[in-house]
C-alpha cells in the first residue's frame, strides 16, 4: 500500500490511507476525497461490502471507486462493476500505468507555470498530514483572483458567540487553520469560527492550539492556530475552499449574515412613500439607505446622554417618526420610553408639527390600554417626548416566537384593543399604523396600544398629502389608494394584524412591498381556517369581514364588533370548560 501511495504522491496526488472501513469513513468525513482505491479485502469487511455501502450513500455514491486487487486473489470483477465500481486494477502494475488509469478518472493537479511564487496547490487533498499554505506575502499577487480568495478567507471568531472579531485564514488543513487575528487567548480555550459558504453562514467549533505573538507594536502578525472539531459544516467549508481554489474565479459569497430578505424587512416597516415618486431607481435607494444609516448613527449618538430630565439608557428601535429609547426620569424616578424625532422629519416643520400632534393625540386618549404620554421636550434642537414604558413584548415578537395566539387570551387582546380603539375613533382620530409591532403586551398581560406617530384626525379629510402611510402587511386598500380614510381603515389593519396573530401568517405575502400592496387591493383573502384549522369558522368570518376590501362591507363601528367577539368568547369559554382542553375556538360537533 505504501508503494502505491508513494507513487501516486509523486504524480501529484495527495493520498490518505486506511486499513478498514472505519478508517475509510472517518477519512471521508474529514477530508475531501475525490477517488477511492480499494483492495478486495479490508481488515474488517470486504471491498465489495464497502463499495455496496458507499454506493447506497447519497453523499458518497458519486466518488469513483476503483478496485485494486492482487493477481493471485482477484475476486469477481463482474460483481465489482455491477455494484458500481469505476475500474478494476490488478497488481503488480507499473506505477506509470496505474497513474494513467487513475488519471483517466481523476486527472492529477496541473502546475500553473505563470505563477512564480509557490502556488496553493489546486488539487489539494486536505489530508490530515498536509498543511496547505494558502496566503503568501501580500505583495506577491494582487490580481482579482487573489482578492477574491482573500475575501473568502475572511472569517470571524468568537469565544462566546456574542462578540465576533474578524480574522483571516493563513493556513488550512482538515485538522484546522491558522488565523491571523487580533483575538488571542490561551492554548486550549474553545472558540467558534464563523465562515461564509454560498449557502449562508456556518459556524464551526474549535480550540486554540497555539498562539503567535509578535512585537509589542506590531499587532498585525499575531494569530492563533485553531484545531477545528469535525462536523458536516467544516467538511462543506473545506470543499468550498477547495473548489474555489480550483476555479480561481470570483465566487458569489455572502458578505454578511442576512437576517431576512430586505424586502420583507421593508414590508414590516412603516412606509412613507411619496405619491407620484414611483421611479425609485437605484440612486434613490442608495440615498434611502444612506439616510437610514445617518438616522441610525444619530440615534446611537444619544446613548449614554441626558436629555433634560431624562437619561437615555438604551435603544429600543426605530418607529415611523423617530427612534425609541428606554429612558430614566431623574425627577420622578421612573423608567420611561423616550421617542426622539428622526432628523429627516425634524428638518421639516410639517413633521415637527406632526410629532407634536402625536403627543397631543395621545394625551387626549386617556385609556388604560393606550400607552400614556408624560412630557414633550426639546433639547439642543432634538425634539422628543417621554411616555409610558411598557415592559413586555410586542405582539409581533410573540408571533415570531410562535406563541399560540389563537386562544381565548388572543381573543381577549383583540376585544381589549377594539374597546380602546372605540375611544380613539370617538375622538375622530385614526391610528393609521396598526400592526402587531404596535400592540404591546406587558408583564401583567395587559395590552397597550402604542405609536400614534402617523395618526391623523378624520377632519383632515380629503386625499392625505403624505402619500401612502402604513405598514404593507397590514395597510388598508383605501390607504394604499390614497382615498379618504376613517376608523374603518383601522379596523382593516387590526383585522390584518390578528389574521397574522391567529394564523401565524400575514394575510398577504410577497417578495416586495409593492407586491403585498397589490394583493391588498386585488387578491381575495385566504380564509383563516385554511391557514390554521384550529380557528373556528365564526372567528375566521369576523376577521375576514374586518378585512373586507370595501370599507362599507366591514364592521361599521367597534361596538358591533366587540359585541360579536364577546359572544364568540363566551362560547369558546364554555366549550373549554366542557372539554377542559387546550384553547381551541373551533367547535367540532360530535357525530350524532
Amino acid at each position: 500500500m505504501k508503494e502505491i501511495s508513494d507513487s501516486l504522491f509523486n504524480y501529484g496526488y495527495s493520498v490518505s490511507t486506511a486499513m478498514d472501513m472505519r478508517g475509510v469513513l472517518s477519512s471521508l468525513s474529514s477530508d475531501v476525497i475525490e477517488l477511492i482505491l480499494c483492495d478486495n479485502k479490508l481488515s474488517d469487511v470486504s471491498g465489495y461490502d464497502l463499495l455496496h455501502f458507499l454506493k447506497n450513500d447519497p453523499l458518497r455514491e458519486k466518488i469513483p471507486f476503483i478496485f485494486c486487487v492482487p493477481l493471485h486473489d482477484q475476486g469477481s470483477a463482474k460483481k465489482a462493476f455491477k455494484d458500481g465500481a469505476t475500474d478494476f486494477i490488478v497488481y503488480p502494475i507499473e506505477p506509470g500505468d496505474m497513474a494513467a488509469r487513475i488519471g483517466e478518472i481523476c486527472p492529477p493537479p496541473k502546475k500553473d507555470n505563470n505563477e512564480s511564487a509557490p502556488q496553493p496547490d489546486p488539487e489539494i487533498d486536505y489530508s490530515a498530514t498536509q498543511m496547505v499554505k494558502i496566503t503568501n506575502n501580500d505583495e506577491e499577487r494582487r490580481d482579482a483572483k487573489r482578492a477574491a480568495l482573500l475575501r473568502i478567507l475572511k472569517i470571524e471568531i468568537s469565544r462566546n458567540g456574542i462578540l465576533w472579531i474578524p480574522g483571516q485564514i493563513k493556513n488550512i488543513s482538515a485538522k484546522g487553520m491558522f488565523i491571523k487575528t487580533s483575538m488571542l487567548g490561551k492554548a486550549g480555550v474553545e472558540l467558534y469560527v464563523r465562515v461564509s459558504l454560498p449557502s449562508g453562514i456556518s459556524v464551526v467549533k474549535g480550540s486554540i492550539k497555539h498562539i503567535t505573538f509578535k512585537n509589542l507594536n506590531v499587532s498585525e502578525d499575531a494569530g492563533i492556530g485553531v484545531e477545528i472539531e469535525k462536523s458536516a459544516e467544516w467538511v462543506d467549508y473545506l470543499k468550498y475552499i477547495k473548489s474555489h481554489l480550483q476555479k480561481g474565479s470570483t465566487p458569489a459569497i455572502p458578505q454578511k449574515v442576512q437576517e431576512a430578505p430586505q424586502t420583507m424587512k421593508n414590508a414590516e416597516r412603516t412606509l412613507f412613500l411619496t405619491r407620484g415618486n414611483d421611479d425609485s431607481d437605484e440612486e434613490n435607494n442608495a440615498d434611502k439607505n444612506k439616510g437610514a444609516s445617518l438616522e441610525k448613527r444619530f440615534y446611537q449618538s444619544l446613548i449614554g446622554k441626558q436629555l433634560n430630565n431624562y437619561k437615555v439608557v438604551s435603544f429600543i428601535g426605530a418607529g415611523a417618526m423617530g427612534g425609541v429609547f428606554k429612558g430614566w426620569d431623574i425627577a420622578l424616578e421612573r423608567t420611561v420610553a423616550l421617542k426622539v424625532i428622526s432628523f429627516e422629519l425634524a428638518a421639516q416643520d410639517k413633521f415637527r408639527e406632526m410629532f407634536i400632534k402625536e403627543a397631543r393625540f395621545i394625551s387626549q386618549l386617556d385609556h388604560p390600554n393606550i400607552a400614556s404620554i408624560y412630557h414633550i421636550g426639546n433639547e439642543n434642537q432634538i425634539l422628543y417626548f417621554a411616555m409610558e414604558y411598557i415592559e413586555g413584548a410586542s405582539m409581533a415578537e410573540l408571533i415570531k416566537k410562535g406563541d399560540k395566539l389563537y386562544s381565548i387570551k388572543g381573543l381577549d387582546y383583540l376585544i381589549t384593543i377594539c374597546e380602546a380603539l372605540d375611544l380613539v375613533s370617538q375622538k375622530n382620530i385614526i391610528h393609521r399604523d396598526l400592526k402587531p409591532a404596535n400592540i404591546m403586551i406587558n408583564s401583567q398581560d395587559i395590552v397597550k396600544l402604542v405609536d400614534f406617530g402617523v395618526a391623523i384626525t378624520v377632519d383632515v379629510g380629503e386625499k392625505n398629502k403624505e402619500g401612502i402611510v402604513g405598514s404593507p402587511f397590514y395597510i388598508s386598500p383605501e390607504a394604499i389608494q390614497g382615498l379618504p380614510m376613517d376608523h374603518r381603515s383601522d379596523i382593516y389593519s387590526l383585522g390584518a394584524s390578528f389574521y397574522h396573530a391567529f394564523t401565524g401568517f400575514a394575510p398577504f405575502e410577497g417578495d416586495s412591498a409593492e407586491e403585498v400592496l397589490l394583493k391588498h387591493l386585488n387578491e381575495e383573502l385566504t380564509p383563516l381556517r385554511k391557514k390554521n384549522p384550529a380557528i373556528s369558522t365564526a372567528l375566521g368570518k369576523v376577521i375576514e369581514k374586518m378585512m373586507a376590501k370595501e370599507p362599507d362591507n366591514r364592521f361599521q363601528d367597534y361596538q358591533a364588533l366587540v359585541k360579536l367577539l364577546k359572544s364568540l368568547k363566551s362560547k369558546a369559554a364554555k366549550f373549554q370548560k366542557i372539554k377542559n382542553a387546550t384553547l381551541i375556538f373551533r367547535i367540532k360537533r360530535k357525530p350524532s
Binding site: A222, Q300, G304, K305, K311
Partner: protein, 286 residues
C-alpha cells in the same frame, strides 16, 4: 461646563457650517494640528479630510490616544462624496464621519446628539459599577503596588476598543455580559513588570498578553464575590486577549456599556462592563 470645540485644520466652508449649526453658546476654536496643547476641556474635535492631508489617520489616532479613553467625539468632515469607506477613520478612532453633502438636518442632529451631555449612572448601574471600580483599584494595588484612581464613567452603545492590548472575559451564569480592560503598551508593560517583580525590559509581548488576561480574570473574580446573593452575581470564563486598536465589537441585548476611565500616575486605562442582571434575581452560586 465644557463648551470648547476644536476644529483642526478645517477649511472655511466647514467652519461656516459649524458656526451655523452650533450657534453662540459654544466656542469654536480653529487650530492647526501642531498647535494643539491639550484636550482637557474639549467637548468635541472636528477634523477635515483633504487630499493634502496624508497624515489624517495618524492624526486621528494620536487624538484618540490623547483623549485618554474619555468620550470626546472626534468628527471627520469629508468635503467630497464617495471617496471610499469611512471604516478607516472609525478604526483609527473617529466617532463619526460626516460629508458636507449630507442633509444639513442630519449633520445638525448628529452633531447635537454628540454634544448632549453624558448621563450619570442609574442607581442600579451604580450598584455594580462601584464594585468594579473598587476591585480594579484593589487588584492593581495588590499585585502591582500601583495606585490607581477612578476618573469617570460614561455609557456607550457598542463595545469599542481603542488601546493596544485588551483582556476580555465573558460573564455568564446568573447575570450575563462582558468585562474588558484596555491598556496602552507602556502601562501594561509597567504593570506586568511590577507584578513579576522584574524590569520592564524583560517583559515581552507574550507576558503582556498573559498578564492582561490574568488581570481581567482577577477583577472579574474578586467582583463576583461582592455579588453573592444578588442579581448581579456571575461566573467568569477563560479570558481572551485582543491586540490592537480600533475594534468595534457587537454585543447582545442592546444593553448599554459602562466605560470606566482610570488613571495611574500620568497614564490612563479603561474598564468596560456590560452586565445584564439575572432576570430571576437568583444567585447562581452553587
Amino acid at each position: 461646563m465644557l463648551n470648547r470645540i476644536i476644529a483642526i485644520d478645517c477649511s472655511p466652508p466647514v467652519i461656516n457650517v459649524l458656526n451655523d449649526f452650533l450657534g453662540d453658546t459654544i466656542t469654536l476654536e480653529s487650530l492647526s494640528f501642531k498647535n494643539i496643547r491639550e484636550l482637557k476641556d474639549c467637548r468635541m474635535i472636528i477634523l477635515q479630510e483633504g487630499d493634502e492631508k496624508p497624515d489624517l489617520l495618524k492624526q486621528i489616532r494620536k487624538l484618540r490616544y490623547a483623549c485618554h479613553f474619555r468620550n470626546i467625539p472626534i468628527i471627520v468632515f469629508r468635503t467630497m462624496e464617495n471617496k471610499g469607506s469611512m471604516e478607516p477613520f472609525i478604526t483609527a478612532g473617529a466617532t463619526e464621519v460626516i460629508s458636507l453633502q449630507d442633509p444639513p438636518a442630519a449633520i445638525r442632529q448628529i452633531l447635537s446628539g454628540h454634544l448632549i451631555p453624558n448621563r450619570q449612572p442609574l442607581k442600579e448601574e451604580t450598584e455594580y459599577i462601584d464594585s468594579f471600580v473598587k476591585n480594579t483599584c484593589a487588584v492593581l494595588k495588590t499585585v502591582a503596588s500601583l495606585d490607581v484612581s477612578f476618573e469617570e464613567v460614561y455609557f456607550d452603545n457598542d463595545f469599542k476598543i481603542f488601546g493596544d492590548v485588551s483582556g476580555l472575559i465573558a460573564l455568564t451564569g446568573g447575570a450575563e455580559g462582558i468585562l474588558g480592560i484596555t491598556f496602552y503598551w507602556p502601562l501594561a508593560q509597567t504593570i506586568i513588570a511590577r507584578m513579576m517583580g522584574t524590569d520592564e525590559d524583560k517583559i515581552n509581548a507574550e507576558l503582556i498578553h498573559d498578564g492582561v488576561a490574568e488581570i481581567v480574570n482577577m477583577i472579574g473574580g474578586t467582583t463576583k464575590k461582592d455579588f453573592v446573593g444578588q442579581p448581579y452575581h456571575f461566573e467568569i470564563s477563560l479570558p481572551s486577549v485582543i491586540v490592537g486598536s480600533g475594534h468595534q465589537l457587537g454585543h447582545s441585548d442592546k444593553m448599554p456599556i459602562a466605560v470606566l476611565v482610570f488613571r495611574a500616575d500620568s497614564q490612563y486605562f479603561a474598564v468596560q462592563i456590560c452586565l445584564k442582571p439575572d432576570p430571576n434575581g437568583k444567585t447562581n452560586g452553587k
